[in-house]
């Protein structure tokens, strides 16, 4: 993180898969520590592709990306894991490990980071209790409903207290009550200093976090046709 609180900076970033046309073009923006961002846009606008760049699943085809004060483009592959551990991800399709229980799925980031077993059980149980899955702690993903899987995925993303949380349509499979609860969880994390980036096309969700900043993607480009969005062009003070 830089002194002005910048944690992510994209400079003229473009992304194409293979030889196809660019799915993201000319992205230039900055994310600041401790902010809550919504990423909106129609289906196919490039939200998931942009998130992939944010959680280092993809390198851009062009442009420069700086993450946590480090050039993410030239970052050696061996240093990616440490960088990734600072980012929690809620995947659109959950991506839970099928043969692991809810508990072990949530514990995964802690085990990957090398936490001692004795330090894992407590926090995992706490977070599962928080997302309302105490009674499903030993269940395998296949026996969980879509909403329950979503909550396990969220618990896994936040368990290691990441500096930035990236969520792709995190409320897509849950009822409105649970969606509100999850957003409150994100807000709570955000208040504790975690930068949150939520991709959604649910405009109601945007209204639930009044302090949030909004990025809108249109055909792979950041767009603000009405000038009414809270981000950009508004400059942070």
């Amino acid at each position: 993180m830089t002194s002005d609180g910048e944690i992510i900076h994209f400079d003229n970033v473009g992304l194409r898969y293979g030889t196809d046309r660019e799915v993201l073009s000319d992205l230039t923006f900055t994310l600041y520590a401790g902010r809550f961002y919504f990423l909106t846009g129609a289906s196919g606008a490039g939200k998931t592709s942009l998130l992939k760049l944010l959680y280092l699943a993809q390198r851009p085809s062009r442009g420069a990306i700086r993450m946590f004060g480090t050039d993410a483009i030239t970052l050696p592959r061996a240093r990616l894991p440490v960088m990734r551990r600072r980012i929690g991800v809620v995947f659109q399709d959950f991506r839970l490990v099928e043969h692991l229980s809810a508990f072990d799925n949530v514990a995964l980031p802690l085990r990957v980071a090398g936490h001692a077993e004795k330090d894992i059980a407590g926090p995992v149980r706490d977070i599962l209790e928080w997302v309302g899955l105490t009674d499903r702690i030993d269940a395998s993903p296949a026996t969980l409903s879509g909403g329950e899987q979503q909550r396990v995925a969220i618990a896994r993303a936040v368990i290691a207290r990441p500096a930035m949380l990236v969520a792709d349509e995190p409320t897509g499979n849950v009822d409105p009550d649970m969606a509100a609860k999850l957003i409150r969880l994100f807000e709570m994390l955000n208040r504790q200093g975690t930068t949150v980036v939520v991709a959604t096309h649910d405009l109601d969700l945007l209204r639930k976090v009044p302090e949030s900043l909004i990025m809108r993607l249109d055909k792979g480009r950041l767009s603000d046709p009405t000038g009414a969005l809270r981000y950009p062009p508004r400059k942070l003070t």
């Binding site: 990734r84 085990r111 090398g114 926090p123």
Partner: protein
């Protein structure tokens, strides 16, 4: 919600020792891999045992006959044969470099040809078969051409019917064949090691493909290549250790039963090929080395494949 403390000592390790969680689901000793390894280890151990036994046989026989020289007195008349043999013995025993010598008694010579010609020939035909007199000479070192020539110079004047041969010359073709078999055994061991590595490579690639999603998730959660590789390495290590133990057991059954059959032959060269304790130790190392080879192959294969992922 409280965050766990990070234990620096375990950073970089995959699932901690206290955890029974497995990233890659796999039953121990399930699938074909342990049995492929068992067969490989059994064949390797048998080939190695054969190579070691041949080596022992060659070494023992060489040590026995390297310094051996045979002086034959090829004289049909028995009285002259006996005279020349006596004079030859006298001439040789004072030579430098001679550790000992023995004139093979007539009874022993008769016993040597008895399997082919039977007994009682002299009684039946009225005359004995003229068998050359044999003098077995032991030199201090291997019988060199110079030493053979020196013996010839001393013996020929007193025993013109003498023929002098180094014993190692007679068995050289046999030794050469045995050494070739030994080399073949070692080549088979090397080929089997290569085949084992190839089998593990294919298994590791297949497991990588089958678990690609899980590996990708672990990567995105901050898992390192080394952590993922360790999971595969350990999984294949268990299979290799189990398969190796079974393979060694199979090999021991084969080696011991073959050993008992060869013991029954009572042939000197075969008896010399008995395995010694250091050979058994080497054989016991086969599954250990196979396990290490399998783990190393799995690790390198997985690391190589992971490098292609971001």
């Amino acid at each position: 919600m409280r965050g766990p403390s990070v234990s620096a000592s375990v950073i970089g390790r995959w699932f901690n020792a206290g955890s029974r969680v497995e990233l890659i689901p796999q039953g121990r000793m399930s699938g074909p891999m342990p049995w492929v390894i068992a067969i490989m280890v059994a064949m390797t151990a048998i080939a190695l045992a054969a190579g070691l036994a041949l080596g022992n046989a060659v070494s023992a026989a060489k040590a026995e006959i390297d310094g051996g020289v045979t002086v034959q007195i090829i004289e049909p008349r028995a009285d002259m044969r006996a005279q020349q043999a006596t004079r030859a013995v006298e001439a040789i025993k004072t030579m430098p470099g001679v550790a000992g010598l023995r004139q093979v008694p007539q009874a022993e010579l008769d016993a040597l040809i008895e399997p082919w010609l039977g007994t009682g020939i002299a009684a039946a035909t009225g005359s004995a078969i003229p068998v050359p007199a044999l003098i077995d000479v032991r030199l201090n070192g291997p019988a060199s051409a110079a030493q053979l020539a020196a013996i010839a110079r001393r013996v020929t004047p007193v025993a013109p019917s003498a023929r002098i041969d180094a014993q190692s010359n007679w068995l050289k073709p046999v030794f050469d064949a045995m050494v070739s078999l030994q080399v073949l055994a070692m080549v088979i061991v090397a080929l089997l090691a290569g085949a084992l590595a190839a089998a593990v490579l294919l298994a590791a690639r297949s497991a990588l493909g089958a678990n690609r999603d899980t590996i990708e998730i672990v990567h995105l959660l901050g898992g390192t290549d080394a952590q993922v590789a360790r999971v595969f390495q350990r999984s294949i290590g268990y299979d290799a250790a189990g398969g190796g133990a079974v393979g060694l057991l199979l090999a021991l059954v084969v080696i011991l039963s073959l050993g008992r059959r060869f013991d029954g032959l009572g042939a000197g060269l075969v008896d010399n090929g008995a395995l010694v304790w250091s050979d058994w130790l080497i054989l016991a190392l086969v599954p250990v080395l196979a396990t290490l080879l399998a783990m190393l192959t799995a690790r390198l294969t997985v690391l190589h494949a992971l490098r292609k992922m971001l």
